[in-house]
Symmetry: C2
Subunit: 356 residues, 2 copies
């Protein structure tokens, strides 16, 4: 069978280290299942800006568009923080998402019992937490027009527009209802409809789409309440669907609850092109190049890519099994270090994964 | 000396019950210090809508504007959830804030050691948590224009504008820096400047105002990261300042962390008129009228009003001491019930406070 064409974007900070591990493990798992990959590396973020002056060069766009899936590590770092907005690594990431129309960001937050002690939350609150946040990723206030700076009553103003159309809400709602069907059939739509018109449209459309999924129990919650309930009783949630901005905030909150940010993968899916698969964590510039990074979220992102982007679930299964096996064997990277367990570096974790 | 003129807004749900307790305790504490009050009751929220068709009748505005301070309990309930936006209780609250120009919302989130076990967070994470969120309350996406519904490419859109002017950011920044000075002189400004122009202006102005407060250590944090750090290490924060929307989300998150939402007061201050003092918790329609509500946040809101709105700190001290004494005596309302402590109702809590 033909090789799966993967565009690989190592990006900044710890990105290259965790990418190296993920690709070697992915290749080994593929081999075991008779699947091959061609990896095309391309630049994004600060690395791309340094090399080309553009955080998302056209060559990178073309490589991504012309592949079966995109595997991204992480972008950003202090070094580029004071660049003008258009040159910032983050802008490269936003353009990547938008150019591939990767509108559905799936962020699972599942507690790994072995690692639950690293969470700030009490063990009994965390038990059984397994939720999925479906975040709209290419609309809302991240991209809405008009935006910029202007003058009002003789002084400067800054403004951004939060806007959604019916079809933008419809397509993300369908993804969320379908995802809820593969889980426990409960969907919570999060908005701020008591204040924002854009949320009122959101709620109206999600409710309407819900009529097509009578087997899924839909409820609505205000974002401030959701931020509270995630802490009070995270187990009460199954699938959540929300806008770009609220999803940014709530998915990070949910990730932190689990206590193992370094373990969480995400998928950003389009309806008609390659998806982008990436860890939830950032580029951690403070530990970059020190062989301290945790590559497991990146490996699990590769697993998500195999399952949802490339249609090779057997390879995904092997990757996930390898991660479970190394955790069970008692080795940990620094971020998930535990008393009585051996702390190892990024490369050693890679070797442990290959053995498993 | 003349009586302090307080406009009292019991509102909806448990509002009237907790108001009755707060007023009786306030009156007793005032008497002990030789201070008297005139209470003018007025309608707001669902109660106002039911009586007049308007969730913030003009008579209420006039009573508030013509008083030294406003004491508000809570608004809202399922009953009014399907009304058109303009009639909703929440709209009444937003109009109250805006009409009084109560632009600075101060929301302390302090862990009460006796009650820390009610939190989802581990005791060691919570220890010593004492933070203050300064939320801009009359600008941003809550009030920005243009907003509403429209058409784009032949389909319906909903939109809201997040906008701040320099002077709006300046005045809230000054409040925050001054508040930080009375605390441990560390201020974290929270924004999403890597994506939003409105946040870029926010960051620029806060930084500029910061130059006038060289003794306060200013840092900036993205809102998604703040949502994480509040869980990972809430103790690392002292004073936070942020926009209306981010403040809504983060202050509720921070309140829930403490484990005692029913204990948290807030103040909304203007530069040139009466402030609004209210509990952080909502109207809890599910337990309304059952004598189960916790009146302590309302009593502590009355204390904040005495200290910051009326300039009678001695009365505030008496109210706070009474709350501390009843907690120490071991009585609890249902929301903060603890094994080995006596659970009592709202009225009984009022009697206990009066005795204390
Ligand atoms: C880096 C930033 C632009 C990005 C976002 O806000 O979407 C990040 O926080 C994320 O959630 O992937
Ligand atoms: C009721 C609602 C409009 C209000 C807000 O969003 O400001 C509430 O959540 C609050 O924080 O006081």
């Amino acid at each position: 069978c033909a090789a799966h064409r993967v565009t690989v974007l190592p990006g900044d900070g710890i990105g290259p280290e965790i990418t190296a591990v993920a690709l070697s493990v992915l290749e080994a798992a593929g081999q075991a299942e008779g699947e091959t990959f061609t990896f095309t590396e391309a630049l994004i973020g600060g690395a791309a800006y340094d090399a080309t002056g553009d955080p998302y060069p056209d060559a990178t766009y073309r490589a991504c568009a012309d592949s079966d899936a995109v595997l991204l590590a992480a972008i950003g770092g202090y070094k580029w923080d004071s660049l003008p907005s258009a040159s910032k690594p983050e802008t490269g990431l936003l353009r990547l998402r938008s150019s591939l129309n990767a509108f559905a960001n799936l962020r699972p937050a599942k507690v790994i019992p072995d690692l639950a002690d690293a969470s700030s939350l009490k063990r009994e609150v965390l038990e059984g937490v397994d939720l999925l946040i479906v975040r709209e990723l290419v609309g809302g206030i991240y991209f809405g027009q008009p935006r910029g700076f202007g003058e009002r009553d003789g002084e400067k103003v800054g403004f951004s527009t939060d806007i959604y159309s019916e079809s933008e809400v419809e397509r993300i709602a369908h993804v969320a209802f379908k995802a809820a069907r593969t889980r426990s059939r409960r969907l919570t739509s999060v908005d701020k409809a008591n204040v924002l018109e854009v949320s009122q449209l959101w709620r109206e459309v999600v409710t309407r789409v819900g009529a097509e999924y009578p087997d899924v129990e839909l409820s609505h919650m205000y974002v401030d309440n959701a931020a509270m309930q995630l802490i009070r009783n995270p187990r009460s949630f199954d699938t959540l669907v929300t806008s770009n901005l609220f999803g940014d905030i709530l998915s990070d909150e949910a990730a932190m609850l689990t206590g193992s940010l370094g373990m969480l993968p995400s998928a950003s899916i389009s309806n008609d092109g390659p998806g982008v698969f990436e860890p939830v964590h950032g580029s951690a510039p403070d530990i970059a190049g020190q062989d301290k990074a945790n590559p497991l979220a990146m490996v699990l992102s590769a697993a998500l890519m195999c399952r949802h982007g490339l249609g090779i679930p057997a390879v995904a299964g092997r990757l996930e099994a390898a991660v479970a096996a190394v955790l069970a064997s008692g080795v940990r990277t620094g971020d998930i270090a535990q008393p009585g367990k051996q702390t190892i570096g990024c490369k050693a974790m890679g070797r442990a994964l290959l053995e498993a």
